[in-house]
């Protein structure tokens, strides 16, 4: 079990009016009004046994394992420490015979119906029930009756198995599903001794957060399919790290055995993830163990690749760079690496005079979004109003969704959402309005001028959550909407929600576009034959750039393509040289989350095959290109980074030891602000295209993780039920989606979360690719839909 960082809770300022002092087993403990006895005890490592209590969920007091004695007016009283708040002068004892007897009694009762499964149980070795049964020396069970019997583990979702015989009915999983995730798809059913956790018949526990229930289950009742029977806890080695699957930057522990990654567990970082992970971040370690990983450098000859040595491969890249025309080398990507990777590649770019670089793939926002006053996750959740000009956060930045949802549920903030279809946060929003693509900036002034809204805005701080909601809509529309909000609420701060793991770090540390030469401009230049060497740094334009035509032309037009990646992606398979990159868990470094928080990522296993960290590749290329480089270790780079980047200061080395990391303010060089766009009116026979991401799609890291690969769905176009009637198509039948550029065929579905006139297509699912219809020089995309 992971414990919470409590480093700061004890040094309270002396005259804190909420400070109370209690005694636990004779020790004086400082606490605050409202704290629970169990939390106060935790803060001084007086461990009180517990099963149902979880510090991030409301207490239910069900298991009765945490009973302690509190001195009362009528003598000592037994109370549940997980529901009893501290009071000044309170005297608590956790070690009296009465307390021990109660604890032993509960264990005996819990074991009465618990199978003797420990040797074959995934939890065996890290199971609080097992530990407490041992530590209290309960011998043979005196329970001689038949135990409860249920069908052995049943799959309650694609990822989670439930063994009801092992369940001790602590309500943690069900509470999590309801209270934290907002997906109450599992519930207690039946009553009394027959109580069991169950889903509704035929409605699986399909929550993006289901893996957390496995982590918090105090016994082995819930197991995750990617980890079942993989290892015994005592075989696992672990290090604390940060998830870089998306830019929330959840803290994790990375666990491995015999040089294989086996499990990620959430770690409670107070400003970030509170111990939670999303299922994608939790289970995509499988992709790192994939047999399809690139393991050696490869050089293309004709249509096939031949394995090459690193020195040959690097030399061939260096040669191309050396012979490239001035200003004709381009670097795309970097957002999937570490800060050190980005810094070194930025340094290389500077040394070689690369003017074309971009860590984004025309799918985010211009870096000017970092030039406003910046918010943090905590500041957004602390109070006031949060305005969402963002993609569906539940789909793209899942744990940020949890934090905002929590803040709404606890009535700390009010959400105002402006979006082109309903999102996971819509039902928690105070106001949620549908604005067709291209029209948000136009409706904002009126919306914010409403009396109740403007009263709300002036009642406290305002945070604007800004990201790219729709890949078929130009980023300039979002930037216009952002300006429109700032015009009304000039003191608002901005939380940029660009989604790739280290996109903020990469942009801030050297891979931001120069002179407005962003990814789109680079690909356009390449298409025109102006790029002699295109370096794809973990970037896959053919899969990610919304204007697929531009991506195709750009890749085809480049004279020479170098792909540095973990897999042979769609784009990498067009490369002339492919270099295998070390993946997450295979290299040390730091990362920067969406709020600019720098934390560590760690190496836990040896890199696959001969793959190398991106920064090493940059260092070697620098040398090959004749630049003096005195970088040999990671800390050399970190020193240089601290020295070179204003605002980064000395944090990089400090963060490695501190769980919550440090928020740094590094503004990337800002390109000229994107030109504003004006979307013309939509022809009423047409639909405006809305292309946005779902958590599970056909992204490489997902489809190479067997347990996640099946979670992408069939590509569909969703339209309003009345529009379905208008089109004259039946639910689920194929329709033709057409505009002047192309025409594709997709099944159509009715959805009332889509407004009339909008056609919403989830990005990168199985089936026809809607990107064929997108051209980035059109700021919005209108299409016709015809039944077939």
């Amino acid at each position: 079990m992971t414990t919470i960082d409590t480093t700061d809770t004890n040094d309270l300022p002396p005259q804190d009016p909420n400070a109370v002092s209690i005694t636990i087993n004779g020790r004086t403990v400082a606490a605050r009004k409202g704290d629970l006895i169990i939390a106060a005890a935790d803060s001084v490592d007086e461990y009180i046994p517990r099963f149902c209590y979880h510090p991030r969920m409301s207490s239910v007091g069900m298991c009765r394992q945490c009973m302690v004695e509190v001195e009362g007016p009528r003598g000592p009283m037994m109370v549940v420490s997980c529901m009893t708040p501290v009071a000044d002068g309170q005297i608590v004892r956790t070690d009296t015979p009465q307390v021990k007897r109660a604890q032993e009694g509960m264990i005996e009762l819990l074991l009465a119906n618990h199978p003797l499964d420990c040797p074959v149980c995934d939890k065996g070795g890290e199971c609080p029930l097992q530990d407490q049964a041992f530590s209290h020396g309960a011998g043979e069970s005196r329970f001689v009756e038949e135990k409860r019997h249920y069908e052995k583990p049943i799959a309650i979702s694609e990822l989670v198995f439930l063994d009801r015989e092992r369940c001790i009915l602590c309500d943690r999983c069900t509470r999590f599903a309801d209270e934290v995730a907002g997906d109450p798809l599992i519930s207690f059913t039946q009553r009394g001794n027959n109580t069991q956790v169950m889903t509704f018949p035929d409605e699986p526990f399909a929550s993006y957060f289901s893996g957390n229930t496995v982590q918090i289950c105090p016994v082995g009742a819930l197991t995750a399919s990617p980890y079942r029977f993989k290892a015994r806890p005592w075989d696992l080695e672990q290090r604390e790290s940060t998830c870089t699957t998306c830019s929330v930057g959840c803290r994790t522990v990375v666990q491995s055995s015999r040089d294989e990654l086996l499990r990620y567990q959430g770690v409670d970082s107070d400003p970030v993830n509170w111990g939670w992970l999303c299922d994608k971040g939790r289970f995509n370690f499988q992709s790192i163990n994939s047999d399809d990983r690139l393991s050696t450098p490869q050089i293309k000859s004709g249509d096939t690749y031949a394995a090459a040595s690193w020195s040959d491969a690097l030399e061939s890249v260096a040669r191309v760079i050396r012979h490239s025309r001035e200003g004709s080398v381009a670097i795309l990507g970097g957002a999937r690496g570490t800060n050190e990777d980005a810094f070194m590649w930025g340094a290389l770019a500077d040394a070689v005079g690369v003017t074309m670089r971009d860590a984004q793939l025309d799918d985010g926002l211009p870096e000017s979004v970092f030039s406003y006053a910046q918010a943090t996750i905590d500041s957004a959740c602390a109070g006031g109003t949060v305005i969402l000009l963002a993609p569906d956060l539940k789909e793209e930045l899942p744990v940020l969704y949890l934090r905002l949802r929590d803040a709404v549920q606890k009535k700390k903030i009010r959400l105002i959402e402006i979006s082109s279809h309903e999102t996971g946060l819509t039902k928690y929003a105070w106001k949620s309005i549908r604005a067709e693509s291209g029209t948000a900036a136009g409706v904002i002034p009126m919306l914010l001028a409403q009396a109740d809204v403007s009263a709300q805005l002036s009642s406290g701080p305002v945070v604007i959550v800004a990201g790219r909601p729709n890949l078929a809509e130009s980023a300039s529309h979002t930037m216009d909407a952002l300006s429109a909000v700032l015009a009304v609420a000039p003191s608002a701060s901005v939380l940029p929600v660009l989604r790739r793991g280290n996109v903020r770090g990469a942009l801030s540390l050297g891979l931001a576009p120069r002179n407005g030469n962003d990814a789109a401009a680079i690909l356009e230049a390449s298409a025109k034959g102006n790029v002699d060497c295109l370096i794809l740094l973990g970037a896959d334009p053919l899969s990610d750039v919304a204007d697929i035509d531009l991506a195709r032309r750009g890749i085809a037009g480049a004279k020479f393509v170098v792909a540095i990646d973990t897999f042979l992606t769609a784009s990498a398979s067009h490369a002339d040289v492919v270099l295998p990159a070390a993946a997450y868990g295979e290299k040390d470094g730091t990362t920067m989350n969406l709020e600019g928080r720098v934390t560590s990522v760690v190496q836990k296993i040896t890199p696959h095959g001969t793959s190398r960290a991106d920064w090493m590749i940059a260092v070697e290329l620098l040398t090959l290109l004749g630049h003096e480089s005195n970088f040999t270790t990671l800390s050399d780079i970190q020193d240089a980074m601290s020295a070179a980047v204003p605002g980064f200061g000395t944090t990089t080395t400090a963060v490695a030891i501190k769980r919550d990391g440090v928020v740094v303010s590094v503004a990337p060089p800002s390109s000229a602000p994107a030109a504003t766009s004006v979307a013309g009116p939509r022809n009423s026979y047409e639909f405006r295209l809305d292309l946005s991401r779902k958590l599970f799609d056909r992204a490489i890291g997902t489809i190479t993780s067997p347990s996640l690969a099946n979670l992408a769905t069939e590509a569909n176009v969703f339209i309003h039920p009345l529009d379905l009637d208008r089109v004259g198509a039946a639910e689920g039948t194929n329709v033709r989606v057409t505009n002047s550029h192309s025409s594709i065929v997709l099944p159509v579905r009715a959805s009332s979360s889509v407004p009339r006139g909008t056609a919403w297509v989830p990005f990168n699912q199985i089936g026809a690719d809607v990107r064929e219809l997108i051209r980035r020089n059109e700021s919005i995309i209108d299409v016709r839909i015809e039944s077939m």
């Binding site: 069900m62 037994m78 009694g105 005196r142 039946q190």
Partner: protein, 465 residues
């Protein structure tokens, strides 16, 4: 339809005593508005509305109307526990009567629904309650029909709803019904159930209904009989009310006596004065034990209550005397066992009830109750061992630690701990599973010993040490 094809539920005997809540039971049409109005109905409400609300609250306080649902807390005081200035506040009427042996609220709802409605109105007016929910046990079809019909009549006649009797007092009373779960009678479980959830009790603290009840708002939960007292009280005044019974237990209370007596029945008795002997043997009550048998034991206050023997027959219906004797008056339910009773089997019946009705929320009750039932049924079947009898105490100790409150404990050299007991559970259901078997085992050990196989083959390892 008014459910008029139904005969009155039987069992009530009026006798020659004051009738505070049963005065209309003699009429065939006692449940109609017409009869109610002809017998002083809604007069109490009218007189209440003619006075400021706080005066009515004081009147109820002065009368010391003890709660009739089990805990016996005075209603007027309970209303005063709500925090100042927090609105809205709700009234939830507890008509979930299901404690074994208890049979009175159903009679009051079936036979005189308007009296209950008038009680709800008076309480809501006095305590400033904004909406009233009348929760009736799911299995009571006729009570639901009678109350529904009465509510419909009373709405139409202007006794409920907007501007009652033309006054500024407005109140909706919503009929709600359960679906079969004993534990829902516990007030916080009742609230959970009324919120549409599984009826699992909440922890007190922090969920004291008066402060944090339905939808998190201040909520008064009162028993049907408690509220049924209010119309008479308003018609006759607190002084008349306290003139009946004793100072600490004024008024009357309804009591059901069942089991091995000659005339089982429901009686409205004088509080604080009538003794168990009066009830079991008195001519106007149960007229003695059946077939002239001896009394073996009786349960004095519903299935949860520790048992009494003939030694306690002379105790009056007075909490301050029954408590120290090791049991409780509870819900006014006496179950009588004569000398022919198979004691272990009787205990099993009750323990099985509580094990079956456990909501499953807390470990000791969910696991312990069933364990006790299993051991006991083995013993009853003649397959138990002496180790089993010890284990009963061990499991019981995990449910409610310490000497169990029982007068007979004194014989064993253990001082009786007055009610309420110490418990490791969230509510009383867990301890209630232990109470009957504990009573039976300590009072009638020989009947168990006669049943068990003397065997020490099963190895027993102590839990502690």
């Amino acid at each position: 339809m008014t459910g008029g094809t139904w005969k009155h539920a039987p069992g009530f005997y009026a006798g020659d005593r004051p009738q505070v809540v049963t005065s209309r039971f003699q009429y065939e049409d006692s449940y109609t508005l017409e009869r109610y109005l002809a017998t002083d109905g809604y007069k109490g409400l009218r007189s209440a509305l003619a006075r400021p609300a706080n005066e009515i609250h004081d009147e109820v306080k002065n009368a010391t109307v003890l709660g009739r649902g089990g805990a016996g807390f005075p209603a007027g005081n309970k209303w005063g526990l709500m925090p100042q200035g927090v609105w809205p506040r709700y009234l939830v009427v507890n008509g979930d009567e299901s404690e074994p042996g208890t049979y009175k609220d159903r009679l009051l709802m079936e036979r005189d629904p308007h009296q209950l409605i008038e009680g709800c109105l008076i309480a809501s007016y006095a305590a400033g309650l904004s909406q009233c929910f009348l929760y009736i046990r799911g299995e009571m079809a006729l009570a639901q029909e009678r109350v529904a019909a009465a509510l419909n009549e009373a709405y139409a006649a202007g006794y409920i709803g907007k501007n009652i009797l033309g006054s500024k007092f407005s109140l909706d009373i919503v009929l709600h019904w359960g679906a079969g779960a004993y534990v829902v009678g516990e007030e916080t479980a009742l609230i959970e159930s009324l919120e549409g959830n599984r009826g699992m009790p909440r922890l007190k603290p922090p969920y004291f209904p008066a402060a944090n009840g339905l939808y998190g708002q201040p909520t008064i939960v009162n028993n049907v009989e408690t509220l049924a007292n209010l119309p008479w009280l308003l018609n006759n005044g607190a002084a008349a009310y306290t003139a009946i019974g004793t100072a600490t237990s004024p008024g009357t209370r309804m009591v059901a006596v069942s089991g091995h007596v000659n005339r089982p029945g429901v009686f409205e008795i004088i509080n604080g004065i009538t003794t168990f002997r009066d009830l079991l043997y008195g001519d106007e009550f149960c007229q003695g034990i059946r077939n002239g048998n001896d009394l073996k034991a009786f349960v004095p206050g519903g299935g949860s209550a520790p048992w009494f023997t003939p030694d306690q027959l002379d105790l009056p219906f007075e909490a301050s005397q029954v408590g120290p004797a090791g049991s409780m008056l509870g819900s006014g339910a006496i179950m009588v066992m004569d000398s022919t009773t198979d004691i272990p089997r009787a205990a099993l019946t009750l323990t099985r009830f509580y094990a079956h009705e456990s909501c499953g929320k807390c470990t000791p009750c969910r696991e312990g109750g069933t364990w006790l039932e299993r051991i006991l049924s083995r013993v009853v079947d003649g397959k138990g061992t002496d180790a089993d009898l010890d284990q009963i105490f061990e499991v019981g100790e995990s449910i409610c630690p310490g000497a169990f409150p029982h007068a007979s404990n004194e014989k064993l050299g253990i001082a009786a701990v007055p009610f309420p007991y110490r418990m490791n559970t969230i509510c009383f259901v867990g301890p209630s599973a232990y109470a009957p078997v504990h009573s039976a085992l300590t009072l009638f050990r020989s009947e168990f010993d006669a049943r068990i196989v003397k065997r020490t083959m099963i190895k027993v390892t102590a839990v502690s040490e």
